[in-house]
């Protein structure tokens, strides 16, 4: 049983085709890295999975349950979407922490609003997650008092607090100073192996190569190539992939 099955997702913005016929599956515990040049539709794909955009065609299954079928409007009811999107978590490029709340409250707010336990349980769990991202000494700090890397780690703890089946990261380190990317990538790497299934959109090729179980290279809204890191990075079949990889190595 695959934890995620995406079938034939397409999305247009006006006349521009941003996603075309995207299909892939993920097994529980997999880490999928999505690479590709700017504008290839990576963010849009993650937003579709998190119900922030509605695809034009396609289906999304989680644990074999049909969550979204674009041909069937009854799967798109506003009230159900709210519970369905809890299968997914999303860590944003620019964190989007809640500035008026301290770190502990940032992590515990959603679980308490969703009544996922007693206040004590929620608190304990939030503290445990904050410890996991290495910020136990910052419980009472506000986001504006943290570095970008620390803010992103809080955002990861916040997403984990709802225990999503699949955690998505949209370029989690690209808003950070280079010296701060390491700490965030380390946290993400540390999540691997627990049950978390993860999708990481990234420009960090080393990370994709070393941490991912599966890599998708996207170009112009399609999956140009998909495979293991070894297949993609060492034996790319498509010329486009080769050109992209050559170029991103050049940039280093």
């Amino acid at each position: 049983m695959s934890v995620l099955k995406v079938e034939n997702i397409s999305k247009n913005f006006g006349s521009s085709e941003v996603l075309r016929d995207i299909s892939f599956t993920l097994e529980k515990g997999d880490v999928l890295a999505i690479i590709g040049s700017s504008g290839s539709g990576k963010t849009t794909l993650l937003r579709c999975l998190n119900f922030l955009e509605t695809p034009d065609t396609g289906r999304i299954y989680v644990n074999d349950e049909l969550l979204l079928d674009c041909a069937d409007k009854t799967t798109m009811r506003e009230s159900e979407i709210r519970t369905k999107r809890l299968h997914f978590g999303l860590v944003f490029q620019n964190f989007n922490l809640f500035p008026q709340y301290n770190i502990l409250k940032n992590v515990s707010l959603a679980p308490s609003l969703l009544k996922l336990g007693t206040p004590e349980e929620i608190d304990t769990n939030a503290k445990k997650l904050i410890e996991r991202v290495g910020l136990s000494d910052k419980l009472d700090s506000y986001p504006c008092q943290l570095s970008g890397g620390q803010q992103q780690r809080v955002a990861i703890a916040r997403a984990l607090a709802l225990n999503p089946d699949i955690l998505c990261f949209d370029e989690p380190t690209s808003a950070l100073d280079p010296e701060l990317t390491g700490e965030v990538l380390k946290v993400i790497k540390g999540l691997k192996g627990s049950d978390s299934t993860m999708i990481v959109v990234t420009h960090e090729m080393e990370f994709a190569k070393n941490v991912a179980d599966k890599v998708i290279y996207m170009a112009d809204g399609i999956i140009e190539e998909m495979g293991t890191p070894d297949e993609i990075f060492n034996n790319p079949k498509s010329d486009k992939t080769r050109a992209f990889l050559a170029k991103s190595l050049e940039n280093l």
């Binding site: 998190n50 119900f51 922030l52 709210r82 519970t83 999107r85 809890l86 997914f88 978590g89 999303l90 944003f92 620019n94 989007n96 922490l97 809640f98 500035p99 008026q100 707010l109 959603a110 609003l113 969703l114 506000y142 986001p143 504006c144 916040r158 997403a159 709802l162």
Partner: protein, 219 residues
């Protein structure tokens, strides 16, 4: 003499305060509703609300006071505000609330629209409902951003209350001016100014305090 004058001024000041407080109590929440109307996805409602706001903000409050008090009686032959001071007072409150709710709505709208989309999306992906996102995430940030324009508007309201006399609702300047006619003395009028100054001074301190309280975070 001084005591009698102060007594009269104080009475006028309480009337001013009365108008001020009732207007705030009405206009602060109604302004928020109008703000939602002016951002509605339903076009006819949005245009209707924005037109009303445009008219109310584009015409003098004095004109609105006169129109609201005399209009119903002259047009429909029925002064439903009721006779006497009470009717006048109700008309004043309605006109002030309408006027200030429209001004406040624009401040709210500016504040709400200045909150980054990412804050809503962060709430959404965390499974929150729309009201939860608004009240738990957005509202506090809006409040912080709108305190400075709000305090300006509220201080203007304090001074605008004096306009209520155009439909003969008693307030502090009226009280002070009465002594020019009856006793030929100007200093009571001077003291009305002191009342305004002191009251606005206190409000300024209050807003400064709130602003400082909210300074514990940035963003």
């Amino acid at each position: 003499m001084f005591e009698t004058v102060m007594q009269a001024l104080l009475e006028g000041f309480f009337q001013t305060l009365h108008i001020f407080i009732l207007t705030l109590l009405g206009a602060l929440p109604i302004g928020l509703i109008i703000a939602f109307g002016s951002m509605s996805k339903f076009k006819p409602l949005r245009y209707l609300v924005r037109t009303i706001v445009w008219v109310v903000r584009g015409t003098p409050l004095m004109l609105q006071l006169i129109a609201i008090y005399y209009g119903p009686g002259l047009i429909f032959d029925n002064n439903f505000w009721g006779q006497g001071n009470e009717g006048r007072f109700i008309a004043v409150i309605v006109a002030f609330i309408l006027n200030y709710a429209c001004y406040f709505s624009e401040i709210y709208r500016g504040g709400i629209e200045s909150i980054p989309k990412g804050q809503y999306e962060a709430g959404q992906v965390l499974g929150m409902t729309k009201p939860q996102i608004f009240f738990k995430i957005v509202l506090m940030q809006v409040v912080k951003r709108i305190i400075p324009p709000m305090s300006n508007e509220i201080i203007t309201l304090v001074k605008d209350t004096s306009l209520s006399r155009v439909i003969a609702v008693y307030e502090i300047i009226w009280a002070g001016q009465a002594y020019i006619k009856s006793d030929g003395i100007i200093w009571p009028l001077f003291f009305t100014g002191v009342f305004y100054l002191v009251f606005n001074g206190l409000l300024t301190l209050l807003f400064g305090f709130i602003e400082k309280k909210l300074n514990y975070y940035r963003g």
